[in-house]
Amino acid sequence: MTAPEAKSKPKSFQDIILRLQNYWAAQGCAILQPYDMEVGAGTLHPATVLRALGPKEWRAAYVQPSRRPKDARYGENPNRLGHYYQYQVILKPNPANLQDLYLESLYEIGIEPTVHDIRFVEDDWENPTVGAWGLGWEVWCDGMEVSQYTYFQQVGGLDVFPVSGELTYGLERLAMYVFGVDNVYDLPFNDPESDVPLTYGDVFLENEKQQSAFNFEHSDVEMLKRWFADCENQSNALREAGKPLPAYDYALKASHTFNLIDARGAISPTERQAYIARVRDLARGAAAQWAEQEEARAGA
């Protein structure tokens, strides 16, 4: 095997996304669109969390806008955003050469293997709100975490089999790295030589400002607490009706509502644990029911 080589440098943020889409499409992934709900991470898309359960094979890739109210910084921090994109890939079962496929995807977006230091650093990923965990790594490129690489072991508190390999790329960070840009808002969103060149800031800066103000100043905590309870009830009712997919949707809504409450700093660490436990119960319940149904469908 010869030493790996990088492809040409991408032109823009969206070029990185397009190359990843093409690359993973070529690996047989279904290229999905983002889930139409607020989620804190690409993993929470049912295409990952729920499809990781059950016996059926599955391959998918998609961009997922992720909202993390607590991380919002009024557009003033060059590295932190309350709304950003993740690129998510799931392959079930994971192919034996997944690490190689992943590294090739980095070369595909212009990272030169001979000058950059790419490392797999232990990171046991877990997402307590969906009762999921796996073993894997943070992938570092010159000390920067560019991806999360996980072999799922449990989802919704259930052992998964076969095992899925899950890749999450932090798209903005990755792009900042590829373009050598220190401020996320300076990233070229589209081709800088096009008729209407747009930066990331042109697209998202104002949104960050206003959403930050909402997250930290204007959200109505009492209302959010009521919403949380309503979502919880709806999710439980749907599960009782044997409909895990919408039940899961309402678990996601509860989860995001909790994140908004949390951003206001209005709850203590112990209360926080209690909220997380409630969301986890919803998500686990929906996941368990989904897994059961999948087993039944596969058996039939």
């Binding site: 030493a3 060059p78 046991d124 112990t270």
Partner: protein, 749 residues
């Protein structure tokens, strides 16, 4: 003699697990080969980010034939005995057994079991898959659609015996003779015939430093070189060094720069950012001895551009981290520490135990009370306690929880608080583990003790004690911390009364909390019930209602009475908490080499001053090491055994008292013992009062002669019931006198 090469190649093994896995694999292979009857002259191991390797040299080619004889029953023995013998020896018919004669026993059967030796190759082919299947990792996983578990997906098993592949298969993965090198510099694969070839190819074209020692040396040499060139001094960090040794197959040390403006941040913040997030080493400027605007990163690549881009990249990542940190630092400094402290009332400590603000109030009161006992200024202790938790709401601690206390100290100094207060804020969490130091400054001691005692009393009050391996609130650590602070600083504290009086504060919070919920109309009955369920609070609900009724006519004395009543019911958990401390003290003293039973013996007295307990244990240990002590213990045991036997027969009469007239008529030994007991009982009082336990034991030693002589010359079980009762009374006196110092019945021996 053969040579074996075994390499287990996987995706990246967590750095912290490599060294242990390396030695475990070596040990497992030694055990398996040894048990199978092979021997060897040398077995060496190596490990790295993606591989565990074992080299065995001078391995025997084959295990020896083994002949074993098994003796059976006599010829003509019952059929059942013969059947059992055949089954055990693996024979199908008795004709396969030999018949031997013994001049005394006659003819009997002997089974001769011959096990032929096996080829090393076959033994290895069986042993290695079993080792892989049974290997223990701190955390293991499955992958793909397979059932095998390993730390990360297993990619190759290289197993070569004298140049030949030892063929086997583990869950579909076949052994082979190929290995892989560094992903970028020389991946291979390389076909290997043995150790020499393996080492040569990997360290050459493969760009892999095989052993931890090699990599550590490369890193240390690299650090020395870059530091010398830039006039820097490495801040040694062995833990991080061991970690990075496991992060690169081909380590290359690169020096990076950071914007000197960041040096206005506290050095702890910079170092922690470097260490935990980036695994960089920090360096000092050789001239100033202070942190330099540089860092050292160990890369896993000999970059084509000499490391320029990767140094820039790492520097950019660090800048982003430190930018965040500086943002937090500036934000925090702009906020007075007191304002942060006020915010604590909005954060729950533990639902039933109120907010962090409530906790701070309790800790402040307790710190003030403890201050004179530990030699601290009460005002300073209270002040420090009030500010101790304030940094928990700071941005920096939100980001780096490890910096709790450390940041509080900085913010306190910024706010112009006295140094003793600032230091106490930093130190009150100590000790954070067995290797951490304890606070030694009086103000720090007062706050550290108050914080831990409040936590412990609180969790006992709501009955959330550690169970088994579960201790989510680190209560064992808190109690051990109290033990260490008290003993290391020689602090005299009555733990029982301190925790009892403090529990009033805790119970007040609990009641206030519950009452507040009642008034809100949003009664969490369930929560309240749980609170009450703890047993100690079986009357809490009633009390709570009564307090509510009285609120319109507040009568402090009535309220006090209620609380006092409640407190009485808490005696159970106070005892329990005290024995929790006792267990920690035992653990602590045991680690220092004190006997477990002696600690029990002293604890049984109900002592709650840890310093006194320790002194008693030490004096007792020294006493029992003397001949007098050992013999007196024997005498005690004898007396106690007789008394116990009597108690079994029926109750010993109460108030067994010694009748002096009867003694005067008795034998000389009896008189001598009675006299000695009276004298010693009087003589031990003064040293005990002065806490001179060695002196008290010296007095006890005087009993040894009379006790021995008594048992030698006097029958306790006299025919005369009155004489017998009198002698039993003497025995109870021996027991009671010794119990003034320790409960000797708990001493082994």
């Amino acid at each position: 003699m053969a040579e074996l090469l075994l390499e287990i190649f996987s995706e990246e093994i967590p750095a912290r697990m490599q060294a242990k896995a390396e030695s475990d694999l070596g040990a497992a292979l030694e055990k398996a080969l040894g048990e199978a009857g092979l021997s060897w002259s040398a077995l060496e191991t190596a490990s790295g980010p993606r591989r565990l390797t074992v080299f065995v040299d001078g391995l025997t080619d084959r295990s020896a034939d083994v002949k074993e004889e098994r003796k059976g029953p006599k010829v003509g023995a019952p059929e059942k005995a013969v059947e059992g013998f055949l089954r055990g020896a693996g024979l199908s018919d008795i004709s396969q057994a030999e018949v031997r004669s013994d001049p005394k026993k006659g003819d009997f059967y002997v089974a001769v079991i011959e096990t032929p030796g096996r080829d090393a190759k076959d033994i290895i082919a069986e042993a290695v898959p079993a080792i892989i299947r049974g290997f223990h990792w701190p955390k293991s996983m499955r992958w793909g659609a397979g059932e095998l578990r390993w730390v990360r997906p297993l990619q190759r098993i290289t197993c070569v015996l004298d140049g030949q592949v030892v063929p086997f298969d583990v869950d579909g993965l076949a052994s082979g003779n190929e290995t892989e090198g560094h992903r970028v510099h020389g991946r291979g694969p390389y076909t290997v015939t043995g150790r020499k070839d393996y080492e040569a190819q990997l360290s050459g074209a493969g760009h892999v430093k095989l052993t931890r020692d090699e990599r550590r040396q490369v890193i240390l040499d690299g650090i020395e070189k870059v530091c010398a060139e830039a006039s820097l001094e490495w801040i040694e960090d062995k833990g991080l060094l061991e970690e990075v040794v496991g992060l690169a197959e081909w380590p290359v040390v690169v020096l990076g720069n950071m914007d000197p403006d960041f040096l206005t941040l506290p050095p702890e913040v910079i170092q922690l950012s470097m260490r935990t997030h980036q695994k960089y080493f920090a360096v000092n400027d050789k001239k100033t001895g202070k942190l330099a605007p540089n860092f050292i990163v160990v890369a896993n690549i000999d970059a084509a551009d000499g490391g320029k881009k990767l140094a820039e990249g790492n520097s950019r990542v660090l800048s982003a981290r430190l930018d965040d940190a500086r943002f937090f630092w500036d934000l925090d400094k702009a906020k007075p520490l007191e304002e942060m402290a006020e915010k604590l009332s909005t954060i729950a400590f533990k639902a039933e135990l109120g907010s962090l603000g409530d906790k701070v109030e309790r800790v402040a009161a307790l710190a003030r009370e403890l201050a004179p006992k530990v030699g601290a200024d009460p005002d300073l202790a209270e002040r420090a306690a009030r500010l101790a938790k304030a940094d928990l709401v700071s941005e920096m601690v939100g980001e780096f929880p490890e910096l709790q206390g450390v940041m509080g100290r900085y913010y306190a100094l910024e706010a112009g608080e006295p140094e003793a207060v600032a230091d106490a804020i930093r130190d009150h969490y100590k000790p954070q583990g067995p290797s951490d130091t304890v606070p030694t400054d009086p103000v720090g001691i007062a706050v550290a003790l108050a914080d831990k005692l409040d936590t412990l009393v609180g969790f006992w009050a709501i009955d959330e004690k550690p169970t088994g391996s579960k201790d989510p609130f680190a209560l064992r650590r808190a109690a051990l911390g109290v033990v260490r602070i008290v003993l290391d600083n020689g602090i005299r504290l009555r733990l029982r009364s301190e925790s009892a009086s403090h529990s009033i504060h805790v119970i007040l919070t609990i009641l206030q909390n519950a009452a507040a919920e009642l008034e809100n109309g949003d009664v969490k009955v369930r929560e309240l019930r749980e609170l009450v369920k703890s047993g100690a609070f079986d009357r809490a609900e009633k009390t709570l209602k009564e307090i509510k009724v009285q609120e319109s006519q507040p009568s402090q004395s009535r309220k006090d009475k209620e609380i006092n009543e409640l407190l009485r019911s808490t005696e159970g958990w106070h005892n329990d908490l005290l024995s929790f401390f006792a267990d920690r003290l035992k653990q602590y003293l045991r680690d220092q080499g004190q006997r477990h039973d002696l600690i029990d013996a002293v604890f049984a007295l109900g002592e709650d001053d840890l310093v006194l307990i320790t002194r008693r244990v030490e004096a007792l240990g020294a006493f029992l090491d003397t001949e007098d002590g050992a013999n007196l213990l024997a005498g005690y045991k004898r007396a106690a055994n007789i008394l116990r036997a009597e108690e079994k027969k029926g109750e010993l009469p109460e108030n067994l008292s010694v009748n002096a007239d009867l003694i005067a008529k008795g034998p000389a030994e009896e008189q001598a013992l009675a006299k000695a007991l009276t004298e010693v009982q009087a003589a031990i009082e003064t040293p005990l009062e002065k806490e001179d336990f060695t002196g008290a034991m010296a007095e006890l030693a005087k009993l040894r002669g009379p006790v021995d002589a008594f048992f030698e010359g006097v029958m306790v079980n006299d025919d005369d019931a009155a004489v017998r009762a009198n002698r039993l009374a003497l025995l109870t006196q021996i027991r009671d006198t010794l119990h003034r110092v320790a409960d000797f019945s708990r001493i082994d021996g």
